[in-house]
């Protein structure tokens, strides 16, 4: 928020993404550091960064669907799974290049998401959350029960590495740059979407769908669009995931994973793209800590065995979701914005 008395004087300046010189500098530094990361840090951290970027694509999609358009979505992992399966089947059976499979994965996930978005035309609130849970169960059923030559059944599918001009993206560094390129495009696109006509329609529908309808916004189409875009992002993220892990199985896309993505946008802050990125960072760090510390504890408390990581993750993330909803429902980004604006207008209260 700008200090009192400072207003944008044109539409262009109002919709600008980079508003100050400091922001431009921070953006350049951030991108530069990320690009140089493979030369600065060790392989383990690059692996974590890869996971973070893929989660970022998916969480940004969820942010558009849930944070901007207000449509509760507990099926983001299923949408991601649809994308991952599409990419891996296309890559392993037809040998298409990843330049085509990644967008196609996004499109197929978008179609799947759109189908569930159509239900949003009639229902809202937590009823909608229930249909997205149904999406989760139907996805599992389809993968496990369709003939295993189609979707690999419970064995999963092995994915060939991404290839471009004879260059194979197998090393962590090569994958890092591939993920970086896709993530940068998707996040930039998200900034574009939310400040466009569609983004404003999303916000209007989120704030009051009846009022938005009276103002001439097609509420049902807007809700379905939100799901379409959110699922497209999930599909692209799923395709990246398939190329990173080089194997897809139905266990990678459960309701729990969907809830983890929801945790990311809640922690970061609803209704902010940067918030989604912050949330991804925080939650992934927490997950990484638990995954590292967990096995050490498991040695001393032997009866739990390997489940301690999963259990610990659930306890911590469940606690984080509940705590944030109770104490800081607007997320870390809101806190940061308050700090920022009080710094800008200091010593005045507003």
């Amino acid at each position: 928020m700008d200090p009192s008395g400072v207003f944008p004087t044109s539409y262009r300046s109002d919709r600008r993404i980079v508003r100050t010189r400091w922001q431009a500098l921070a953006l350049v530094l951030f991108m530069g550091l990320l690009l140089a990361a493979p030369y600065l840090v060790s392989g383990r951290i690059i692996a974590i960064l890869n996971m973070m970027m893929i989660s970022a694509v998916i969480a940004v999609g969820l942010q558009i669907c849930t944070g901007y358009a207000g449509q509760i979505n507990l099926g983001q992992a299923a949408f991601m799974g649809v994308g991952a399966y599409t990419a891996s089947i296309l890559a392993s059976k037809t040998g298409l290049t990843f330049l085509l499979t990644i967008p196609l994965a996004g499109l197929s996930a978008a179609l799947f998401g759109f189908l569930f978005g159509l239900t949003a035309a009639r229902i809202k609130g937590f009823y909608l959350a229930l249909t997205t849970i149904a999406a989760q169960f139907l996805f599992h059923f389809a993968v496990l029960n369709l003939p295993s030559t189609w979707l690999g059944g419970s064995n999963g599918i092995t994915v060939p590495p991404a290839e471009l001009f004879g260059l194979r993206f197998v090393s962590e560094t090569a994958q890092f740059y591939m993920n970086f390129a896709v993530t940068a495009i998707m996040v930039a696109g998200a900034f574009g979407i939310v400040r466009s006509r569609f983004g404003r329609a999303f916000v209007a529908v989120r704030d009051d769908d009846v009022a938005a309808g009276i103002m001439g916004i097609n509420v049902a189409a807007t809700k379905a669009n939100a799901f379409l875009i959110g699922a497209f992002y999930a599909g692209v993220g799923g395709a990246l995931w398939a190329y990173l892990i080089r194997f897809v199985g139905v266990d990678q896309f459960t309701l729990f994973h969907s809830i983890f993505f929801v945790a990311m946008i809640i922690v970061g802050g609803m209704g902010s793209i940067v918030g989604a990125l912050v949330g991804v960072f925080v939650i992934r760090i927490i997950q990484e800590i638990i995954a590292t510390v967990g096995p050490n504890i498991a040695d001393s408390v032997s009866f739990l065995g390997g489940d301690i990581v999963f259990a610990g993750m659930n306890v911590v993330l469940g606690g984080v979701i509940a705590l944030f909803m109770i104490l800081e429902p607007k997320g870390l980004m809101h806190r940061w914005n308050i700090l920022k604006s009080s710094y800008r207008i200091w010593p005045f209260p507003y």
Binding site: G70, I123, I133, L146, F310, N314, L317, V320, I326
Partner: protein
């Protein structure tokens, strides 16, 4: 033909078990306007309490069952005090997300406290099935079905006919309006969660009697979800009909359609019904129609 009728009866009884678990959803919704995604987790917590009091503490069934119900009620009360009192008057989104957080939190806690081991569950209802001619009906489901019907009739009388029940109904309409009419929203929500936890524990007893107990038993919470929606989230009596219909459809699909297609369609059929009902009649068979005001 005998098998066919037997399948229908068993299916209906399983459906009544779903109704009982779904009753937990509906009671909590009916008295607090909170949709509790963590219902399945309450069922396993109830199951573990029963296991603890009988198998671990070695109490007799007559002592352990009432004790378990009291303990389960306390757990429900604690959850309400810690998480939900603070959210009175907040948006539906916050409430939904807190129960989603609870879902994974409780799942993790149960795993941490009790571990993934498989445990024997006490035999609460006689194991010997009831023979009717050539038909065989599982005893635990039969007694459970009777309990479900009694509970449904009792609770639906309580919520629709008594003064305190109607107060809670007002809370489900609108927290702010209810509290400005002098109704204790906190009290109502606390009561709902205690009752929800107790119903879940009874459900666990019927579901698990004589079987083994792991944390995977919480899946029954999601299996009961379609029943709650089919009936409409506000109707307790309607749960019986919805449960019986979904139970019979599922049983027939599992027994007659699955062998033909070679998959487990039976386990998703309730969700397909749920999707259909959400699209055709989102308020369910007997739910309230809400009128929107701007």
């Amino acid at each position: 033909m005998v098998y066919f009728i037997n399948d229908i009866i068993t299916g209906a009884l399983i459906g009544l078990l779903y109704s009982l678990v779904a009753m937990g959803f509906v009671v909590i919704y009916r008295a607090s306007k909170v949709f509790n995604f963590a219902q399945g987790e309450l069922v396993i917590i109830g199951g573990f309490i029963v296991w603890f009091t009988t198998m671990q503490a070695g109490l007799s069934l007559w002592l352990s069952i009432p004790l378990s119900l009291v303990l389960a009620g306390l757990v429900g009360y604690a959850i309400e005090r810690i998480f939900l009192t603070k959210l009175i008057g907040e948006s539906v989104f916050s409430m939904v997300m807190v129960t989603v957080g609870l879902l994974i939190l409780l799942r993790g806690l149960v795993l941490l406290v009790f571990g993934p081991a498989v445990r024997p569950f006490p035999i609460i209802f006689p194991l010997k099935p009831l023979f009717l001619g050539d038909m065989l009906i599982p005893m635990n489901l039969l007694i459970g079905g009777i309990i479900t019907i009694v509970a449904a009739v009792g609770l639906s009388w309580f919520f629709n006919r008594t003064r305190s029940g109607l107060r809670m109904t007002a809370v489900a309409e609108d927290h702010v309006v209810a509290s400005s009419m002098g109704i204790s929203v906190k009290g109502s929500i606390a009561f709902a969660w205690v009752l929800g936890a107790i119903l879940s524990t009874i459900g666990a007893m019927i579901f698990l009697s004589g079987k083994s107990l792991t944390f995977l038993a919480s899946d029954i919470g999601f299996a009961a979800l379609p029943v709650a929606l089919f009936a409409g989230l506000e109707s307790i009596g309607g749960l019986i009909l919805a449960g019986v219909i979904i139970g019979i459809v599922q049983s027939l699909t599992t027994n007659y359609l699955d062998p033909l297609i070679g998959g487990s369609l039976g386990s998703v059929v309730p969700y397909i019904i749920m999707l259909a009902i959400l699209l055709i009649r989102p308020t369910g068979l007997f739910g309230w129609r809400t009128i929107e005001r701007v």
